[in-house]
Symmetry: C2
Subunit: 301 residues, 2 copies
């Protein structure tokens, strides 16, 4: 019970390799030095040293920590299974929703999911709480969580919000000086789009990552933590749903590529109005595709 002693085990083993690197009879550095070297607190170092003393690998005598013998395989400790942190959890959870096609309204079982994802239940709770800010999950009155996002209404509002943010990026981008990095990136992206267009019949599946890359590039010119935070959610939801909707995928993607190219063209001409119009057109198409995909999948409420 209580927290895992991963840090202790790791420090202990690291200390072993450290001893083996030194000569028998040498003195180990001070506890303070060791703690800052291994990046753990002195408390951990002291417990590890105490164990090494017990194993007679070192001899503690006041300030002196004399190395007495080499370490054996058995001296090393096995730590508990490492649990994932909250960052890894995010992508794993969203991937799960995506792949398993979890419908809105599903009750999320914290105990079960924590096993599946091998995280502490506690970590999942926190994670859900943070997602609840975006309404993707909501807390039920008496405990428990429900997957709530990914409904039609949600999609509409998210699309609209995306449009507001991205039009702002586009307007800003059109005013940037020619020496800005973005122009080179746009040139590269243009090449990638043209190349994909040539082999669209076979490789239309490759559009999705390219789409994400393109929109990420556009938004990268605005350095704003709120925009970036939303970008993550937005790109997730869009690509999630696009994977569902397999109807006319080839044609949709071809159209989208052409819209992207038009936007790049307009941006390069530095005509803000033209660029905005092109962006607006493309975002409207995206929104429509998203809504269609919702209807064909009957996940809407």
């Amino acid at each position: 019970m209580a927290r895992t002693n991963t840090r202790f085990v790791e420090a202990h083993n690291e200390l072993l390799t450290l001893c083996d690197k030194m000569e028998i009879g040498d003195f180990l550095p001070s506890e303070n030095a060791l703690s800052s070297q291994l990046g753990v607190s002195r408390t951990v170092i002291r417990s590890a040293l105490a164990r090494l003393d017990e194993l007679a690998i070192i001899a503690l005598d006041g300030r002196e920590k004399i190395i007495k013998r080499r370490s054996a395989k058995d001296d090393r400790l096995d730590g508990p299974p490492v649990l994932l942190g909250i960052e890894e959890l995010e992508s794993r959870f969203l991937d799960w929703v995506l792949r398993m096609d979890v419908p809105p309204g599903t009750v999320l079982n914290v105990a079960q999911l924590s096993k599946d994802f091998s995280v502490a239940t506690h970590t999942l709770q926190e994670f859900f709480s943070s997602l609840s800010r975006f309404g993707i999950v909501v807390r039920r009155p008496r405990g428990g969580w429900v997957l709530h996002g990914f409904t039609k209404n949600y999609a509409v509002e998210l699309s609209d919000f995306r449009t507001v943010l991205e039009l702002n990026s586009v307007r800003h981008l059109a005013t940037l000086p020619p020496e800005h990095d973005i122009w080179a990136r746009l040139d590269d992206l243009e090449q990638e789009h043209l190349s994909l267009l040539e082999r669209i019949d076979e490789d239309f599946h490759d559009f999705s990552p390219l789409d994400e890359k393109f929109h990420a590039a556009i938004n990268s010119v605005v350095t704003n933590r709120f925009v970036k935070e939303f970008q993550k959610i937005i790109s997730l939801v869009f690509h999630y749903h696009f994977q569902w909707n397999k109807t006319h995928e080839r044609d949709r993607n071809e159209d989208a590529i052409r819209e992207h190219l038009t936007l790049i063209e307009a941006l390069r001409s530095r005509d803000a109005d033209k660029a905005e119009a092109a962006a607006r057109r493309h975002l409207a198409t995206s929104k429509q595709t998203l809504l269609t995909s919702l209807e064909t999948n009957r996940h809407a409420t």
Copy 2:
């Protein structure tokens, strides 16, 4: 240890009053009926009934639950102290940051705060996790939280984000038909502004709530959960900092009132460009005020 039995205690007491309302010798309804009536699970009802049986207030005999006697004062149970939920916590926490003038970089002590706010530590953790989406607090590498928001950079990015959202609202508002509610609300707000302007020398403190009301009205025309979520954070941070900055408060507020009036005027003329320009000017002033207030308070990084 483990969770509180609040639900049991409450159901138990409710059941007592229910019995007292009926005649001695009557039969209580079925467990299912009671559970749906009191809004708790059958398990809770069964535990409560079992206790009432022990106290000889009712007699359980197969399906029959016969009322045997009236309840006494002592039969009622006292529940544990009620802990606050996560919603109440939000306002209490933000209020604490505001009043105590907690500087950025402060390490937030979950154990201590959970006592102060009388919530479970667990609840605080979840709450911080949700705030971390907006960067107001951030998680430290090995556990713990730091108050991170409310720095200069944060303020700049928040202002910019606010501008993007609010200009969008303004553009939208200018296109609304005359029969829309918003026009009447704007008329009312105009009167309130004019009235405050007349007595500005004495009542300039009254501007802050009016400002919030005005901006809330503008944004109310966009029904989007993301916009609304942000509105909450934005209005908090702005009014938080404005309370700090007492320099030239009267003049600042008078200027802001005039800017509001100009914006109302422009909106009513349905000239989108004019309205946008007026809004942009006002938001720029707001941003400047926010930055100034940060510098005078030396909380910036």
